[in-house]
């Protein structure tokens, strides 16, 4: 009986088709209707967002720093530094995004990163995710005219997680400090570099934190956005720092997803990207419904200038997601 139980579990774990989810949306004048399907009991969230004049990211490049381990020892002594397997977490980010229907993801090293950032004409709608503490000198040297900054100002979205934004660049084998890196990317020095980690409060963000079921209560290397304009802070907070912040920079944005590397941070990162969040995002409406089989609903979109409908299943334990643009 034990063997049967284990083998049944193995089949369930490895065979597709047991848990099946799907969603559709139908945009009409002043209304968006949707349909969600699940083969098992679950709960769905339909979240209607408005991004105003900003374009959400629709494709993502994940930068895997080839020299991450080589120079880590030089900054390991700094508060809050955590040595991690960035290849693993790059793969985790891609998987978490795929579960949410965001599959336009590719990974690469320095050469590919430089190529992506050189194409400022395609920056709008493109995201770059950096999981390392440094950028290569090919794209960043602490100078305002660096390719990465030009790319962001041209409309790209830079997602930064795990370390101080703009703090370091690597030239060949040596690591260099960019003294004004935070100002270059964010407009002011507002990164939590003191090692504060656990958050005790929630940032409602007009209902976005709850609507997206964010749950990574960790502000390590997060931002204090109190002095910043054109930004969206959400998630959780401690000592003024936010677990998630999206800061407008020119036509683009810098999004900082704080916290130590684990699946909670990956989940929140994936919600931000797959949910199409920008610094201008506001929550228009949301539904949270238990269901099995097929469920339908609709939202009034007359007040939204750039509506985006994000449907996901499972609540905090998300099993499926899909974003639909109006």
């Amino acid at each position: 009986m034990i063997i049967a139980l284990v083998l049944a579990g193995e089949l369930i774990a490895t065979q597709p088709g047991i848990y099946v989810y799907d969603a559709d949306a139908d945009w009409q004048d002043g209304l968006v209707g949707y349909e969600v399907r699940s083969s098992v009991n679950s709960v769905y969230d339909a979240v209607l967002l408005d991004n105003g004049d900003r374009v959400p990211v629709s494709e993502l490049f994940i930068y895997v720093d080839e020299h991450y381990h080589e120079s880590y020892g030089e900054i390991a002594h700094l508060p809050g530094m955590v040595h991690t397997d960035i290849r693993f977490y790059a793969e985790q980010a891609a998987r978490a995004l795929a579960v949410r229907g965001f599959t336009a993801v590719r990974t690469g090293g320095t050469a590919e990163l430089a190529e992506v950032l050189a194409d400022t004409g395609s920056a709008t709608g493109t995201g770059v995710l950096n999981l390392s503490y440094a950028l290569p000198s090919e794209v960043y040297t602490g100078d305002p005219g660096d390719p990465v900054l030009e790319w962001v100002h041209a409309g790209g979205t830079l997602y930064w997680t795990g370390y101080e934004v703009g703090g370091w660049y690597r030239d060949g084998g040596s690591l260099h400090r960019a003294e004004n890196g935070q100002e270059l990317f964010l407009g002011s020095a507002c990164v939590n570099t003191g090692g504060v980690s656990a958050a005790t409060g929630m940032i409602p963000a007009g209902g976005l934190t709850e609507a997206l079921h964010l749950y990574n209560a960790d502000v390590l290397f997060g931002l204090d956005v109190s002095g910043l304009d054109d930004c969206l802070a959400l998630g959780f907070t401690e000592a003024g720092y936010a677990s998630i912040a999206l800061v407008g920079a020119g036509d683009g944005a810098v999004a900082v997803i704080a916290g130590t590397p684990d699946f909670r941070r990956t989940d929140d990162l994936a919600q931000v990207i797959a949910g199409g969040l920008t610094p201008s995002t506001v929550l228009i409406d949301t539904e949270h419904v238990d269901f099995r089989g097929t469920a339908t609903g609709s939202f009034d979109i007359r007040d939204a200038s750039a509506p985006l409908l994000y449907i996901y299943v499972g609540g905090y334990y998300l099993t499926y997601g899909e974003a639909f643009r109006g």
Partner: protein
């Protein structure tokens, strides 16, 4: 047949009458065990149940056990959760696996190693918490499945005692001492952990080996090892047992090969998905860590090294027992095998371990205690008392799930109690006092077993050495 008792009084009285009306001793003990577990079930801790929900989530998302992060063990427990999850969603109608408890974020036990508050760091290390409260039906269905494994573990000890001693009364006592052992109850019903599942597989392996079904025995031991690696250390004993039992029959090699084939086949079937994906190492992620604070040599890192040294020291102990088993006749082999298992697991736990790991010692300890070795009584009592103290230490936080989903106790009251128990600085003293006492009591329990088993021998050796020196 028993006379039906006159029914009267309230529902409690009728329930007591119903229990007392059960005549078969095993059934009576099982009913008592069930009642105790139902009573403590609401205490199921949020920390591990959150992880189980994450694993179920990953399976339901089509990511298998090792696609999305969250499962750090070899596959067996994940597969069991997979089978259970289908029942939970299809039959029990569980939709949302859990929710975030904002109030719980206030508790300093959420602080991690990054915290500047040393007490908070210690709390996080000793009593990690999550702000997620899993669904009660999810928790209780898990509890009930684990209860079945508790019963199975107790019954297997019963059968071993009945077969080896031939004394049903001793066997029944063994059944009770396992099923009603607070540590077993704590592990399955409060921790929601699967150590008893592994123990059942290991005991089944031993039972099958005794019956001469070496292929299935190997298969079952493989299941046990792929559930939790501890039983790996008793494998040499099992091979020695085969040698002892089949020596002179010319079948030693055949049975060793059969057991090995059973072991290998199950391992192959269970690891096949990862073999096909070309990366079996993901199943052994618990041996490595994907993150580390390399700038600090932490207590945890030092502990990890010491743990490896302690486990390495178990190899000669395991080989020594194997030598004894293989040398002695099959009449003594049963007792030596079980004694070897007991001492290996006791020695393994000498490196301070989570309370639930001690579950591996309980069936063997109970076997010899119920068989008549009263010197082991102190060990059983202390290990059990320590388990009760662990529940007391964690009682307030353990009620998170009930407070959130059932409103009992009120969440505010629970958080206030938890705050006073786990608050940083002096406020943490009640928690640490009880928690450290619990660990110390259990450790004394292990030492009591060691003293009972090896104390006389050691004393004798020492006095012999002393006599030689003076003489």
């Amino acid at each position: 047949m028993a006379e039906p008792r006159p029914s009267g009084g309230g529902p409690l009285r009728r329930a007591v009458d119903a229990v007392l009306g059960v005549r078969h001793p095993l059934l009576l003990i099982a009913v008592i065990g069930l009642i105790v577990r139902l009573a403590v079930m609401p205490l199921i801790g949020a920390y591990d149940s959150d992880y189980w929900a994450v694993i179920v989530r990953n399976l339901q998302a089509g990511e298998g056990l090792y696609g999305l992060e969250g499962y750090y063990y070899t596959p067996v427990w994940g597969y069991i959760l997979g089978a259970l999850s289908l029942i939970q969603t299809s039959l029990l109608g569980i939709g949302e696996l859990g929710t975030l408890v904002l109030e719980a974020l206030q508790l300093p036990a959420f602080s991690d190693s990054m915290s500047s508050d040393g007490t908070a760091q210690l709390l996080a290390a000793f009593f990690p918490m999550t702000a997620m409260a899993t669904d009660l039906a999810f928790n209780f269905s898990l509890n009930i499945m684990l209860f079945a494994f508790d019963i199975a573990a107790a019954y297997l000890v019963y059968r071993l005692l009945a077969e080896i001693t031939g004394d049903r009364r001793k066997a029944t006592a063994g059944f009770a001492l396992v099923l009603l052992c607070p540590l077993i109850i704590l592990t399955s019903s409060v921790d929601g952990m699967f150590d008893t599942v592994c123990v059942v597989m290991m005991l089944l392996g031993i039972m099958l080996l005794r019956r001469g079904d070496t292929f299935l025995a190997g298969a079952m031991i493989s299941l046990a090892v792929l559930t939790k690696f501890f039983p790996l250390f008793i494998c040499p004993l099992l091979i020695a047992y085969i040698i002892s039992r089949y020596r002179g029959t010319g079948e030693v090699v055949k049975h060793v090969l059969l057991a090995s084939a059973g072991f290998a086949l199950v391992a192959l079937v269970l690891l096949l998905p990862q073999i096909l994906e070309g990366d079996v190492t993901v199943c052994f992620r618990f041996l490595t860590d994907r993150i580390s604070s390399v700038d600090k040599i932490s207590l945890m890192q030092i502990g990890g090294v010491v743990r490896i040294l302690v486990y390495a020291a178990l190899v000669p102990l395991s080989l020594a027992f194997s030598y004894l088993i293989a040398r002695r006749g099959s009449a003594e082999a049963d007792s030596l095998l079980l004694k070897g298992c007991l001492m290996i697991f006791v020695a393994m736990m000498l490196f301070p371990s989570p309370a639930r790991y001690l579950v591996f010692t309980v069936p063997f300890l109970v076997f010899f205690l119920a068989a008549g070795d009263r010197r082991l009584r102190t060990g059983w009592i202390l290990i059990s008392a320590g388990a009760v103290l662990f529940v007391v230490a964690g009682c307030t936080a353990l009620l998170t799930n009930m407070a959130v989903h059932a409103g009992m106790p009120p969440l505010e009251a629970m958080m206030a109690a938890a705050g006073s128990m786990y608050a940083g600085g002096l406020g943490a003293i009640p928690f640490f006092t009880v928690y450290v006492s619990a660990a110390a009591v259990q450790y004394l329990g292990l030492l009591a077993v060691l003293r009972a088993e090896w104390g006389d021998t050691l004393r004798h050796r020492l006095s012999t050495i002393a006599r030689r020196r003076t003489g």
